[in-house]
């Protein structure tokens, strides 16, 4: 079951944004997120907004992978009508899912072309798509590269067969590494491997194998996420029934340290709590856009957007999403306009996760006192603190949420 949407204010049916939000658009980079809500099977841990063919049903609803690109294009055109001419050229596009690579490469290319046609894609822009290892081939990847995609994010998750099985992943160990090679051959310079740690039955050795295998495949970026047991997932039910143990926070902390050390030795530096890159150029610019609180438009069912202090989110189900667009109604289900408290919270909670951190001038008097205490507890890096920046230590990254709560208390 996909996770639920937040509570918010109703969004207007025409999707119009307040002038105050639009006026800040030119100041920061602007990107698109495109959500592709299809998967062949649902993985037991996943609560993303995605659906199998079986879940979507046949016929009537007219939601299918075949027509999905047209629906996406309709929302891109709606965005064009809402956003002003002052909107900067698009500096990042990120296609995620679901499994974007279930769509024909040509459809992904069409979507990209439409964004370019409506908004213009900036020179040197980062254009990423997520890919499941079993869904891509050399030819497919060449097609994407030719269409303008510059970055590939491959869902490797683990190198251990029994862990992949627990996660319901259908690819075999080795397939992800092979996909990296194919992507390289297709001309992709930037390649990410996604890993998950802390799965039931995963050992320290399994995790080490996953890290080593990922590094050996030669990506320039690695994301490593702790397994979260999300409410409503098959995994949550198994945990509740005692079939598999819940991930232990101390084990997750150990695995994080293991990942951080292994990746650092292999020449990767952390730039965000869960992300490591070989070079500054290899960092995911789209990811940075989120953490730096910049603007983006999220296309697709359940997608989230942020423009100038207004956040909104689309209806979740692909059928109602398509229905809305067919009727030229905004697919937004709800929105929130951030007040001073929310802005302050986000202002701390987002960039504190980044290696670049936040300047101490951004903190309140109370926040400074708390930060000083966190330096004492070795959660904030003392050298950077002396240089006037809040940057988390390895321990601090593992307690980032606690640090943020203290800073804004």
């Amino acid at each position: 079951m996909p996770s639920s949407l937040p509570d918010g204010d109703p969004a207007p049916t025409d999707g119009r944004l307040p002038e105050s939000a639009l006026s800040t658009l030119g100041r920061t980079p602007f990107g698109f997120y495109v959500h592709v809500p299809f998967c062949t099977t649902r993985c037991g841990y996943c609560d993303f907004n995605t659906y199998t063919a079986q879940e979507l049903g046949q016929g009537a609803g007219s939601v299918s992978q075949g027509t999905y690109a047209d629906t996406v294009i309709a929302e891109i055109r709606m965005a064009r009508e809402i956003l002003p001419a002052s909107t900067p050229p698009v500096s990042t596009v990120f296609v995620g899912g679901g499994t974007p690579t279930l769509l024909p490469a040509e459809h992904l290319a069409l979507i990209l072309r439409e964004i370019d046609a409506q908004f213009g894609i900036a020179p040197g822009a980062e254009i990423t798509t997520e890919a499941n290892p079993e869904t891509v081939s050399q030819a497919y990847l060449e097609h994407l590269r030719a269409a303008g995609f510059t970055r590939l994010s491959i869902g490797m998750q683990s190198a251990a067969a029994h862990v992949l099985q627990v996660l319901d992943r259908v690819h075999t160990p080795g397939r992800a590494q092979q996909a990296v090679a194919e992507a390289r051959a297709a001309g992709f310079e930037h390649i990410n491997l996604d890993l998950i740690y802390g799965s039931p039955k995963e050992t320290d050795a399994d995790w080490q194998l996953s890290l080593d295998s990922a590094i050996a495949a030669g990506p320039d970026h690695v994301s490593a996420y702790a397994l979260i047991v999300e409410e409503g997932t098959a995994l949550a039910r198994q945990v509740a029934r005692g079939i598999v143990p819940a991930p232990d926070d101390d084990v997750l902390a150990d695995r994080y340290v293991q990942a951080d050390e292994t990746l650092r030795r292999a020449g990767f530096d952390w730039y965000e709590v869960s992300n490591w890159a070989r070079t500054p150029a290899a960092q995911c610019a789209h990811n940075m856009l989120y953490w730096r609180n910049h603007n983006w438009w999220g296309i697709g069912p359940g997608a989230h957007s942020h423009v100038g202090g207004v956040r909104w989110w689309n209806v979740k189900h692909p059928a109602s999403y398509a229905q809305r667009l067919a009727e030229a109604v905004s697919p937004a289900a709800g929105r929130e306009t951030l007040g001073p408290d929310s802005r302050l919270m986000e202002h701390n909670m987002l960039p504190v996760r980044l290696r670049e951190g936040i300047g101490i001038s951004e903190l309140s008097q109370q926040g400074l006192i708390r930060a000083q205490e966190a330096v004492g507890r070795q959660l904030i890096d003392r050298q950077m603190w002396d240089l006037g920046r809040i940057v988390l230590t390895q321990r601090g990254r593992l307690l980032a949420d606690a640090v943020v709560r203290d800073l804004v208390a």
Partner: protein, 640 residues
């Protein structure tokens, strides 16, 4: 809603309605209060266990005597407080005057039925109610037999030389075993089983005969009509409009309106504003004479100025000797009550002030706890009194409260000969200066099916009990007498007794002085800092078990902090148990799905709000729920 249902005002005071017209049959002229011939008066009470049908019987009597007609009868008319109605018990006694023409001799009698509180904590009030009567109806459920409290109150009635009329109720029930329990009662009070009346209060069967027997068997009150007036106060209730309503039984002389009266214990003089009888609503009369039961109103606003057991006399022509048996209410159990929301402290103070108007036994003084903030140290007659008071505070005043573990009153003799009365672990003398400690003990009576003797004895041994004797009430039911430290009884004893006997055991106890005891104070320390709310005075042999259980509970209840938190139990400087909460290592969400920043921010905001509700013990954040759960006797501590 009828007017009875609307009788309770916010804050729990009773609201009197005007004397009624339609619902009561006017008392006939010859029975007019103030002039009733004592020879035709019968004063009685009903002794019964909870659920044995006392209130139903009282209601039936009100109907049969025409005091309340069936149309207006409300179930359990005499139990007026909501809590009483819900728990099916009577806390404050009521009394009612009923006319009855005997089917035996055709004489018209005036019956005063005096209701008695049904619980062990109110033994003193029960004894005063009994002292206002010449007879008692011993009411026993024909399906269950006599219970411990009933037996205790029966003994109390016998000590007061009351005539006992044994009655089996609920004979209409399929499970009734009237022959068996008639034999049991006959065995206990030494009568013939055939003398035990059989009624069904529910259907009314046998109740008129019972009233006839009351008139025949119970002696008329005796007193000197011309002597200086003396009346005994057996209850005293605060009414929001009228002030304190004092219930009295006239022993000698006359009480008339406009008289100036004197309370003999304090010498305080009051102007009488109204004298009357309850039938079943207040009905002003021209006075009350020898043997009569009624109420008086003086305009005082505090029940402590009109004390149960005190003697009322004439201010100008006072009696020289007070009636016997008066005692000040003495709190035996103490507990700290703290509002969960600290800003409710003034509300709690006002609420206690209001309750005290109607509860002479309730005492309290401000207390401040490092862990729980500001609250009150309250003294109660017993555990039920504590529970009822807490319940009323929460229900009638919308307060959310934490109560600390109940304590008894210990007497500590220091090495320098000085004596200290300790009702709060915080006041326990430290530094090894203690020479002797005395704790209150209670004589305890348990009645249960004989198959549970072993389980009951084991429990009582565990609670430092001394067996006083075992009696078989019948082949299958047994009475056990134990002497137990009061501290052991007030902690979870009744629950344990019930669970070990599948709910069949009943318990009664009365205080029986004190004994020397080896008690220690066990402190619970978080990161080396004692948490006052968890300190406990406990027998030295049980200190280790308490320490282990408390530290174990707290380890599960307190969330991990950013640093290691040792939890210790200690007697003075000696640590007897230790647990450790290791430092939290991970508190971060790995990612924000698809840019759902809103969800993540709301989660953090929620966590931040939760942090505000934490109580700080030194640097350690302790959730409210941890205090509540750790202070409850429940063994099933939820996982954090």
């Amino acid at each position: 809603m009828d007017r009875h249902a609307a009788r309770r005002a916010p804050g729990g005071q009773q609201v009197s309605t005007q004397p009624l017209t339609t619902e009561s049959r006017p008392l006939s002229a010859s029975s007019a209060a103030g002039r009733t011939d004592p020879a035709r008066i019968r004063n009685f009470c009903i002794i019964a266990h909870i659920d044995h049908g006392k209130s139903t019987l009282a209601d039936r009597m009100l109907q049969l005597t025409g005091v309340v007609d069936a149309r207006h009868a409300r179930a359990q008319y005499l139990d007026r407080m909501d809590i009483e109605r819900e728990r099916g018990i009577t806390i404050k006694a009521q009394n009612v005057r009923m006319p009855w023409t005997s089917g035996i001799d055709g004489t018209e009698y005036v019956l005063h039925m005096i209701d008695t509180p049904g619980h062990v904590d109110f033994t003193y009030e029960v004894s005063r109610s009994l002292a206002a009567c010449e007879g008692a109806v011993l009411l026993v459920d024909a399906a269950q037999g006599i219970e411990a409290q009933t037996l205790a109150n029966l003994y109390l009635a016998l000590e007061n030389n009351l005539t006992i009329i044994p009655v089996l109720n609920k004979i209409d029930l399929p499970a009734a075993q009237p022959d068996r329990y008639a034999a049991e009662i006959a065995h206990i009070i030494g009568c013939d089983p055939d003398d035990v009346l059989r009624v069904s209060a529910k259907t009314g069967q046998g109740v008129d005969q019972l009233l006839d027997v009351v008139c025949r068997e119970i002696p008329a009150p005796v007193g000197e009509a011309d002597a200086p007036s003396r009346a005994m106060i057996f209850d005293s209730v605060y009414d929001i409009y009228r002030g304190v309503i004092t219930y009295i039984r006239v022993i000698d002389g006359h009480i008339t309106p406009r008289q100036r009266i004197k309370m003999m214990s304090t010498g305080a003089v009051h102007e009488l504003l109204e004298v009357g009888v309850i039938s079943p609503e207040p009905l002003p009369t021209q006075g009350l004479s020898v043997g009569e039961v009624g109420y008086l109103i003086t305009g005082v606003k505090d029940v402590r100025l009109s004390r149960v057991g005190d003697t009322v006399t004439d201010a100008i022509k006072p009696a020289t000797t007070a009636l016997g048996g008066y005692a000040d209410p003495k709190p035996m159990v103490f507990s700290g009550l703290f509002p969960i929301d600290g800003s409710d402290y003034p509300l709690l103070r006002d609420a206690l002030d209001r309750l005290q108007l109607n509860d002479a036994a309730l005492v309290y003084e401000p207390e401040s706890s490092a862990a729980l903030g500001f609250g009150f140290r309250c003294g109660f007659l017993g555990l039920l009194h504590l529970e009822i008071t807490r319940d009323r505070l929460e229900r009638e005043f919308n307060l959310e409260l934490i109560s600390t573990a109940p304590n008894v009153v210990n007497r500590v003799i220091l090495e320098n000969g000085e004596e200290q009365i300790v009702t709060n672990p915080s006041d326990w003398p430290g530094g090894g200066r203690i020479a002797q400690i005395f704790e209150p003990i209670a004589k305890c009576m348990v009645i249960a099916p004989s198959e549970y003797i072993g389980a009951i004895m084991e429990l009582c041994q565990n609670r430092r009990g001394t067996l006083g004797g075992i009696d078989y009430l019948s082949e299958s039911r047994v009475e056990l007498r134990y002497t137990l430290p009061l501290a052991e009884i007030i902690f979870d004893f009744f629950d344990q007794l019930k669970s070990r006997t599948r709910g069949y055991a009943s318990l009664d106890y009365e205080l029986a002085g004190e004994q020397q005891a080896e008690l220690v104070k066990v402190d619970i320390l978080l990161q080396g800092e004692a948490v006052d709310a968890f300190s406990s005075i406990i027998h030295k042999d049980k200190a280790f078990a308490y320490g282990t259980s408390m530290t174990g509970k707290l380890r599960k209840l307190i969330p991990r902090q950013q640093f290691e938190v040792p939890i210790q139990a200690a007697i003075g400087a000696r640590v007897i148990a230790r647990e450790n909460i290791s430092a939290i290592r991970k508190d971060v969400l790995a990612k924000c799905y698809g840019g759902d920043i809103t969800r993540k921010r709301k989660l953090l905001e929620k966590q931040k709000e939760g942090k505000k509700r934490m109580k700080m013990v030194g640097r350690v954040e302790v959730p409210q729920e941890a205090f509540i759960a750790a202070l409850s006797s429940d063994e099933d501590v939820p996982k954090k």
